[in-house]
């Protein structure tokens, strides 16, 4: 390609286009517009409002709720304009970020899923929000400690949690009654779930179904107080190997497998959307799903049956543990001018306010990240409408903080999840024993971690 100069190429191309495309009359003009609009952005200091570009992955109704928050912020702040841009699913948006690094085409603020945290830190492209917290003397004690924990590394908060959720057990109260089970007492341990599932199974209705979702496995580990990775779940030091094949994993998978074998639990694949639709249609009586799905699950069951919620089941009644925070957080990019980063921080603070969180919570079903939000009247009202949500809040508050419940961190998390899911499938389809499948997956994950660590400069 070198023999051509870039200009000649562009000229050639343009002439080709003129020759070729009579239809696209807008040639060139958008470019001019672009440069024109970009110029004042860099030159102006005080007069023009600071523009904050926020990339997010919130679509559907949730996307609308996010836009609503942005509009409110812009109305309140005359000196800042936040521009929310939907950039596809989490991994698509992250890819786009990666491609834009090292140029000014990236955002000022980006929403990244929780398992992308290690990548964001290793990319060295971000300013930890702790810097702004310290400079601002911002009081973080109002925020949920269990949520902040996930995004805290080396005692520094790197990003601000935005949408957070946990897995809970959903069950069909009417089916419980019909099977002679107490509809107000959801099964709490593996053993109780297995027994209930057996009783609930009849023609046209299975006891339950869990989606083959790596996230559930991670949560069930934490719920036994077990760590998924060495080096304190990768938090005291970069992780070097996976502990997936440990007793916690084998016990969980054996239990799951036994229920599938007894036909009291169905294997409906990897998508929680599939299990929740089966649940709503009354085909399964129990399922695991995110708290963020609560509203839609309750709504879709309206007029058919009453939905109950319970804690994520534990291996034994007396093990200590709890759930990990899932969801996503907002990161500030360090290649933007300081004024812009500060403006982004203002927006983050706005999002963390009780009022914003209350609104966000009732419109989406994600947890409020500040406890104060529960005092807002709209939240109280919502709680009476969806009393099931109390379970989720209690579960979050009862979680004892530890390295296990803080959650694992690794650069190859998306891949590790996929490998875990394959391992579960191998067990449920009778290809391998639990121990064998998990050991194999752990080995594969470990080698991926080693490879990753090689590429990250210290």
């Amino acid at each position: 390609m070198k023999p051509f100069g870039k200009k000649t190429l562009a000229m050639l191309l343009l002439s080709c286009m003129m020759l070729v495309a009579a239809g696209c009359g807008s040639n060139g003009s958008p470019t001019q517009e672009d440069t024109a609009s970009a110029a004042p952005e860099t030159s102006s200091k005080q007069e023009e409002p600071v523009k904050v570009v926020w990339w997010h992955s919130m679509s559907g109704d949730v996307g609308k709720a996010a836009q609503q928050l942005v509009d409110e912020f812009n109305a309140e702040h005359k000196d800042i304009v936040v521009q929310a841009e939907y950039q596809g699913k989490y991994d698509e948006s992250l890819n786009k970020l990666k491609a834009s690094l090292g140029s000014d085409s990236g955002p000022s603020l980006i929403q990244v899923y929780e398992i992308g945290s290690r990548f964001m830190i290793d990319s060295k492209a971000i300013t930890p929000v702790q810097q702004f917290i310290d400079a601002d003397k911002y009081d973080t004690s109002r925020l949920e400690p269990n949520i902040l924990n996930y995004y805290t590394f080396d005692n520094k908060l790197y990003s601000m949690p935005f949408n957070t959720s946990n897995p809970i057990l959903y069950y069909n109260k009417d089916a419980f009654k019909a099977a002679g089970l107490d509809p107000e007492k959801p099964p709490a341990t593996y053993e109780e779930v297995a027994e209930a599932a057996k009783k609930l199974t009849k023609s046209g209705q299975a006891g339950g179904s869990f989606a083959i979702y790596g996230w559930f496995m991670e949560q069930l580990f934490a719920n036994q107080g077990a760590e998924l990775l060495d080096n304190g779940n990768g938090r005291t030091q970069a992780a070097t190997s996976s502990l997936l094949g440990s007793d916690a994993g084998v016990k969980t998978l054996d239990w799951w497998k036994r229920m599938v074998e007894e036909k009291s639990m169905l294997n409906l694949g990897r998508k929680t959307d599939d299990t929740s639709k089966a649940f709503a249609a009354g085909q399964i009586a129990m399922t695991l799903d995110s708290t963020a799905s609560l509203r839609s699950i309750v709504k879709s069951a309206e007029g058919k049956f009453e939905v109950g919620t319970g804690f994520l089941p534990k291996a034994d009644a007396n093990v200590k543990g709890g759930v990990i925070v899932g969801g996503a957080s907002n990161w500030i990019l360090n290649n933007r001018p300081e004024a812009e980063q500060k403006a982004a921080w203002e927006f983050i603070k706005f999002l963390a306010e009780p009022k914003s969180q209350a609104e966000w919570h009732i419109n989406t079903g994600y947890f409020p990240i500040t406890q104060k939000a529960y005092d807002e009247p709209i939240v109280k009202e919502n709680m009476t409408k969806y009393p099931q949500f109390q379970t989720a809040v209690d579960q979050l508050h009862q979680t004892t903080p530890s390295l296990a419940t803080q959650g694992a961190v690794m650069g190859v998390f998306p891949e590790a999840r996929q490998l875990t899911e394959t391992a579960i499938e191998e067990v449920l389809n009778n290809k391998k024993s639990s121990k064998q499948a998990l050991d194999d997956a752990a080995k594969a994950i470990t080698s991926k971690i080693e490879e990753y660590n090689k590429t990250v400069s210290k």
Binding site: F4, L9, D91, A278, P414
Partner: protein
């Protein structure tokens, strides 16, 4: 190439009627110049948007990349040896081959049959021709969403239909034995519209008097089809064959939406693997190496098809 372009300017307006070797030579020059001029726009665009990235990925394939996608350390041929010695790669390759075998012959034959039954001129022929080409209007993305609902593990309308005739439900996408088959079925449907249109236009360009004369010869419809139609549309058949194989190799969106390579890696085709490495797991080096291997594989296969296939193709 620039040289050729500058040569073009005096375009040959009339082919020369003058005799003599000199004019013959100029007309040959003019023909060449015209050819390069005709090829130039495509070649320039390919150069910038396809070959340049390809060269870049050759470079990347020899390195390990950091989370930002930048070159971290030189790996030489390591990426290639790692891939070529890994079980995952051969598993993916085998699945890709199975996927091609499931989709390409079925797709071609189905399109051929549809074209054959919709070519006789009946009153409603045009309507059916429209119906058969409809899947073409559906993109892979939306098509996958539609089939995801059709294949739902418990609410599937297909399973309901099966239950009406006494067949127990099929776990379309969640049973490792079925998943690839289900994705293949959906892919055949998706490509049917286009394959059909190409076949149809191929058949329509067969001069009608050929049919007439074969009718007069007393040849039956089947004989006519195999003796006359098939050879005459062999360029279209060849085209569809080559293109279907290439597109089957590159099928990605339906796998990403329907199965994500699962269950138990049973639908983990090569491109899905590449996508995973390059876009999810941030290993651009390995992803590039794998993509290059894929590129070489498709190229070899296509060369073979041209070497052996095009000989049998009948051009008028």
């Amino acid at each position: 190439m620039e040289k050729n372009i500058s040569l073009v300017s005096p375009l040959p307006r009339e082919s020369s009627r003058q005799e003599g070797i000199a004019s013959l030579r100029t007309s040959r020059w003019k023909e060449r110049a015209l050819a390069y001029f005709f090829l130039a726009p495509s070649l320039i665009l390919f150069g910038i948007f396809l070959f340049f990235p390809l060269l870049k990925s050759v470079y990347l394939s020899m390195f390990l990349t950091d989370p930002q996608g930048r070159v971290a350390s030189f790996a030489g041929a390591d990426n290639f040896t790692n891939i070529l010695t890994s079980e995952v790669f051969y598993n993916s390759l085998w699945i890709t081959v199975k996927f091609i075998l499931l989709t390409v012959p079925t797709g071609v034959v189905a399109a051929l049959l549809l074209a054959a039954i919709s070519i006789p001129k009946l009153r409603l022929t045009k309507l059916f021709q429209f119906f058969f080409s409809l899947p073409m209007a559906v993109s892979v993305g939306t098509g996958s969403i539609i089939w995801m609902v059709l294949y739902h593990p418990t609410l599937s309308i297909l399973n309901y239909a099966l239950s009406l005739i006494g067949i127990s439900p099929i776990a379309w996408l969640t049973d490792p034995k079925w998943a690839l088959l289900s994705v293949a079925l959906m892919t055949v449907w998706l490509n049917l519209g286009f394959n059909y249109i190409v076949m149809l236009s191929g058949m329509q360009s067969v001069p009608e008097d050929l049919y007439e004369s074969s009718k007069i010869d007393g040849s039956g419809p089947f004989r006519t089809f195999f003796r006359i139609t098939l050879p005459l549309i062999s360029p279209s058949l060849f085209f569809i064959g080559v293109v279907s194989i290439i597109s089957a190799f590159q099928s990605f969106a339906q796998i990403n939406i329907l199965t994500k390579g699962g269950p138990m890696n049973s639908t983990d085709v090569l491109v899905y693997n590449i996508y995973q490495d390059a876009f999810i797991n941030y290993r651009f080096g390995i992803g590039s190496a794998q993509a290059l291997i894929l590129f070489v594989l498709i190229t070899l296969l296509t060369i073979v098809q041209f070497k052996f296939g095009e000989k049998k193709v009948h051009y008028q």
